[in-house]
């Protein structure tokens, strides 16, 4: 009985000394690593194609096509199981379906460790709506800014639907134009989400490999969830925020973003 215990002790000692040795060598064990976030936009179980020849169908059964789908991802945070949180500095990213190079971005200088939660804001926080540099993703001319109310459009979806009002008899149905934004009460549409990691998976940040977090954003979830949207009665939101914008933001906060898988190496 004593023999195994001694072995364990010796083994622990050996491990500890190894650990110390490796800690002295910064090249073997960097203090930080990178994480790639990839956003794949889908409609239900179909890939999203802009201006497709066929219609998509909402969960409630309305048909539609999509001509534009853009959204901001901001204030990205990673949390370890012990509650330690890392927040990306200057964390503002604009995903545009029409621009492939915006579908992924890299979090840099993330302290190494095992993270159990990913958190981000869909849109732009209220502070940055009224202060700070308007450059990069936040440039005014990115098609995501209401200059007169000094605020960002957090999410834009445009398209058409045979179920939407179509007095002009447009060939692809009546227009859909959902521009969601606004950070002032009572129509605050800033939404922050923490989509769960796949079961029994941790996001392992090491210096040597860059894990890729593959998220799917289901556009259909704009119109389903807490507030079912039918295009016959709601085919767009008023510019600047309005109560309908809040409802749609509640929908996409509830279910649009899902972590599909993580490539660990």
């Amino acid at each position: 009985m004593k023999f195994p215990k001694l072995t364990t002790l010796l083994f622990s000692l050996a491990t500890a000394s190894l650990l110390f040795a490796s800690c002295d060598d910064d090249e073997d064990q960097p203090a930080t690593g990178s994480v790639d976030l990839e956003f794949e936009n889908v409609v239900g179980n179909q890939a999203l194609t802009l201006n497709a020849s066929t219609y998509y169908t909402t969960e409630a059964g309305d048909q539609f096509k999509v001509s534009k789908f853009n959204y901001f991802i901001s204030n990205v945070k990673l949390t370890k199981s012990n509650g330690t949180t890392w927040a990306e500095p200057e964390s503002y990213h604009l995903v545009k379906q029409a621009e492939e190079n915006t579908h992924s971005f890299t979090l840099k200088d993330v302290p190494t460790g095992d993270y159990t939660q990913l958190t981000f804001t869909i849109g732009v926080d209220s502070t940055r709506n009224v202060s700070g540099a308007q450059t990069g993703a936040l440039a005014q001319n990115n098609d995501m800014y209401w200059s007169w109310s000094s605020g960002y459009i957090f999410l834009k979806m445009e398209g058409s639907s045979p179920q939407a009002a179509n007095p002009g008899n447009l060939p692809n149905g009546g227009p859909l134009q959902f521009h969601i934004g606004g950070f002032r009460k009572p129509n605050n549409t800033v939404q922050t989400v923490s989509p769960s990691l796949p079961a029994s998976t941790a996001l392992k940040v090491r210096g040597t490999v860059t894990p890729q977090v593959h998220l799917k954003a289901d556009l259909n979830k704009m119109f389903a969830g807490p507030n079912t949207v039918r295009f016959a009665t709601l085919a767009g939101t008023g510019h600047s925020s309005d109560p309908n914008s809040v409802k749609i933001s509640q929908n996409y906060a509830a279910g649009m973003f899902r972590i599909d898988h993580i490539h660990a190496d």
């Binding site: 450059t135 800014y145 939407a164 007095p167 002009g168 447009l170 129509n187």
Partner: protein
């Protein structure tokens, strides 16, 4: 409730909520300019040891950095142009070249022939007429106001930098019609130019690149931001008084129609504060069912881009008639009649903002009243910047 909230957010006084942002931005721009200045100095120092072959005078002194100044806090930051930093000498050279008729094949036209300062750098024609006369250009001359902020140049976005764009009108047979290499040869023989190029670019040997760079530098200084609208937007609430036609027009301009609120939807495409397309955006505005000019589609080849054009700046729009890519409308009232009543709703890939308006939910048309059209035209006149069209820095050199 909802309509009141919308009105609150749609009316520009909320501009006044912004100051802290822009104070910090100004600081940042200042730091940036300093940094650019330092870089410039650093970059130019090694040149002092280099004697350009054929340059008998030896090394040239470094040019003086030219700092662009935003008209007011609502304008975006200036894009960096690290490959062509603005200098006092470069801008001045660019101005001389802009008004230089020897850049055209037969010596009759300069850039300034079609981009006339008095008309906010347009020509008053439906279609530009080039140096050779004869067949007109297929498109209407665009204003050069505030091109410093544009990422897509000309109606179809064929140009993505002013340096690259400048070669097109210089060489195009229906425009100035002279190969750039020939222009370089001519300029080299005009007494004033070799010393000016030396001051601006360090060598009196003229190159194609340096001609284009100088023109681009001058164009980047053509900033219009001192209209009555600008004074209003920057905080002078007496510049456009509530209750006036102008004020009502501004509200319509910035409003999206929803039940209970009338809107003219203009801001979607003519986005303040430059009043142009957002970066990379082109629109089919419903002029035609079939497209004599493919517009953006001619560049991308994509069906969805056929008949789509850049939304030109509305700054000084009262001075830039006629209107549209083909100059088909003579007056602003005709333009409003189009958007209000005559949009071709069946046109393929019509822009979504024009496809349905709750102003008239029975027809889906914008259906502006005569009063509303008058108010919008009144507002558009507040975008005229009379200092811009008289600024001696932008005029032909004596």
């Amino acid at each position: 409730m909802a309509p009141e909230l919308l009105i609150f957010e749609a009316i520009p006084p909320t501009f006044t909520l912004l100051p802290p942002v822009f104070r910090s931005r100004r600081v940042r721009v200042g730091v940036c300019s300093l940094a650019v200045g330092l870089l410039l100095t650093a970059a130019c120092q090694p040149d002092k040891d280099v004697v350009v072959p054929g340059d008998a005078e030896g090394p040239a002194p470094a040019p003086t950095p030219y700092a662009l100044v935003a008209p007011h806090k609502l304008f975006p930051a200036f894009p960096n142009t690290p490959n062509n930093p603005l200098t006092v000498e470069g801008v001045e050279l660019g101005r001389h070249l802009f008004y230089e008729k020897q850049l055209s094949g037969n010596g009759t036209q300069s850039c300034g022939s079609c981009h006339q300062q008095s008309k906010a750098f347009t020509d008053g024609l439906a279609h530009a007429i080039g140096a050779d006369g004869g067949a007109p250009h297929r498109r209407n001359t665009m204003s050069l106001a505030n091109v410093v902020w544009e990422t897509n140049l000309t109606w179809d976005g064929a140009g993505t930098s002013l340096e690259q764009q400048a070669r097109i009108p210089l060489e195009n047979p229906v425009e100035m019609h002279q190969p750039l290499i020939e222009s370089v040869r001519k300029l080299q023989g005009i007494a004033k130019y070799p010393p000016m190029f030396r001051k601006a670019f360090g060598s009196s040997k003229i190159t194609e690149d340096n001609v284009l760079k100088a023109l681009a530098q001058f164009e980047r200084t053509l900033i219009s931001g001192n209209s009555r609208y600008d004074r209003y937007a920057a905080g002078d609430k007496t510049a456009i008084l509530p209750g006036t036609d102008e004020f009502q027009g501004l509200t319509l301009f910035n409003s999206h129609a929803v039940p209970g609120i009338r809107g003219a939807e203009c801001f979607h495409c003519h986005t303040p504060v430059t009043f142009t397309s957002p970066a990379g955006q082109f629109f089919n505005n419903g002029l035609d069912m079939t497209f004599a000019d493919p517009g953006r589609g001619g560049i991308t080849g994509a069906a969805v881009d056929m008949g789509a054009f850049k939304a030109p700046t509305l700054r000084n729009v009262a001075l830039t008639a006629p209107y549209m890519h083909d100059g088909r409308f003579q007056t602003l009232m005709q333009v409003l009649d189009h958007y209000s009543d005559h949009v071709q709703l069946q046109s393929p890939n019509l822009h979504v903002s024009l496809a349905f308006s709750s102003n008239n939910s029975r027809t889906g048309r914008m259906d502006l009243t005569a009063d509303e059209k008058r108010q919008l035209v009144a507002f558009l006149h507040t975008l005229t910047d009379s200092t811009f069209i008289k600024d001696p820095r932008f005029a032909a050199p004596n």
